[in-house]
């Protein structure tokens, strides 16, 4: 049997150590069969969750989660999140957890694998930003998505349902401060989802904008933004 296929069960049960987890996830990016098997095994481990039989949560948990979510509403001034977490390992752990969401459930269409792989290269950094408990989010106006800005100013855009850039064109990100746009990276767009790290930090008083430019990008935008943050 494919050794990885057997490891799929252990992975679906979270019975792997961090090193095994990393190795397996690297394999997953290249193996449709394991991805299919994993999706199926996850359904079984999800069933095991139903049989866990622990007690009911305190009603306050629901309110706390909703309040925290509200405080992070992209279009509101962010409150400082206060996670009752021991600081150290938490960010990395949440990042690992979110890898499930950001990477592994991607389309399994063979033709997209290269894109998947290159997307994954920047995924570690994107995950660290998106899952930073101190991060805040700002919504885009005119597109479905938002910018997540970590406490250090490192930022990632999360976009969904954006048409791929036309042939010979590219989307370009801008960090706009005091009316001056500075280039912050290029991306191709994707029907499904997109997480892209900005190449420059986003100060608190700056906006993030997106334009469509000729492939290769430009130093100054050639037109008004397609959309920008609120």
């Amino acid at each position: 049997m494919d050794d990885h296929l057997e490891l799929t069960a252990a992975y679906a049960l979270d019975a792997v150590d961090p090193r095994e987890r990393e190795r397996y996830e690297a394999h997953l990016a290249t193996c449709d069969r394991c991805r299919e098997e994993l999706a199926s095994f996850w359904t079984v481990s999800g069933a095991l969750a139903h049989a866990a039989g622990g007690p009911a949560p305190a009603p306050a948990l629901r309110e706390r989660i909703l309040a925290q979510a509200r405080s992070e509403r992209p279009n509101l001034v962010p409150l400082r999140p206060r996670w009752a977490l021991p600081a150290a390992a938490s960010v990395a752990a949440v990042a690992a957890m979110l890898a499930l969401a950001l990477g592994l459930w991607g389309s399994s269409l063979a033709g997209e694998l290269d894109r998947e792989r290159s997307a994954r290269a920047g995924a570690g950094e994107a995950l660290a930003i998106v899952s930073d408990p101190g991060a805040h989010t700002v919504a885009f106006r005119g597109a479905e998505g938002h910018v997540v800005v970590s406490e250090t100013g490192k930022a990632a855009v999360v976009l969904a349902g954006l048409d791929p850039a036309p042939e010979g064109k590219t989307y370009e990100l801008w960090v706009v401060r005091n009316g001056v746009p500075r280039p912050a990276g290029l991306f191709e767009g994707s029907e499904a989802r997109l997480v892209q790290v900005l190449t420059r930090p986003v100060p608190a008083d700056a906006k993030v904008a997106v334009t469509l430019e000729d492939a290769g990008g430009v130093d100054t935008p050639t037109g008004p933004p397609l959309f920008e943050t609120i």
């Binding site: 069960a9 359904t43 481990s45 622990g54 007690p55 957890m97 459930w105 499904a192």
Partner: protein
């Protein structure tokens, strides 16, 4: 836009709304999955505060990353439970809270369990029934791994078996459980939400 009644929407539709920062959709998802999620986290962690942390982080992760969820690969509830379990296991390992006897019964039903609706109750019995049909060694491996938070290497050491044996018990156990669950879903008089 305000959706006033979320109750009729599928989990996946709710996730799509969560991606647009719809709080009501998040609340509805919590109402559907939060109880199971907490019960699971508690079973793994045996600590209320840590279990709450695990659930809170998973739902916050959902809130932030819902736009990246691709529904064709998994049910939304499975996704949430996977996030919660991953987080609970990471926490239990870090805290080194695992009990030497991880199979102690969790205090089920003590304060009214998560199964305040009939479907959840039936689903729980169905899965527990299927688990009982597994060969003892396979069931033991699955339970220690999934509820106990042990890695395969730790299990090998704990059970005094080669790693390969543990791997194959987990694989065979999970595959067999899948068959049993498929069978009981076809045979059963209740419907599952799997689509």
């Amino acid at each position: 836009m305000r959706i006033r009644d979320h109750a009729h929407l599928s989990d996946e539709a709710l996730v799509a709304l969560v991606a647009r920062s719809d709080e009501g959709a998040l609340a509805e998802l919590y109402d559907r999955v939060g109880g199971i999620a907490y019960g699971l986290a508690y079973r793994v962690l045996r600590d209320e505060a840590l279990a709450e942390d695990a659930v809170q982080e998973a739902f916050l992760g959902l809130w932030r990353a819902a736009a990246t969820f691709i529904p064709e690969r998994a049910k939304a509830s499975t996704w949430i439970l996977t996030l919660v379990h991953r987080r609970a296991v990471d926490l239990v390992r870090r805290e080194e809270r695992r009990r030497s006897e991880p199979l102690d019964e969790a205090p089920e039903g003590a304060t009214g369990s998560a199964e305040d609706n009939a479907w959840l109750h039936l689903e729980r019995e169905r899965v527990q029934g299927a688990l009982r049909l597994l060969p003892d060694q396979q069931r033991e491996a699955l339970e220690l791994a999934y509820y106990g938070g042990f890695t395969q290497s730790e299990l090998a050491e704990r059970l005094g078996q080669p790693l390969g044996t543990i791997k194959s018990r987990m694989f065979s156990g999970l595959a067999r459980l899948r068959e049993l669950l498929d069978d009981s879903a076809e045979r059963g008089s209740w419907t599952t939400t799997s689509s």
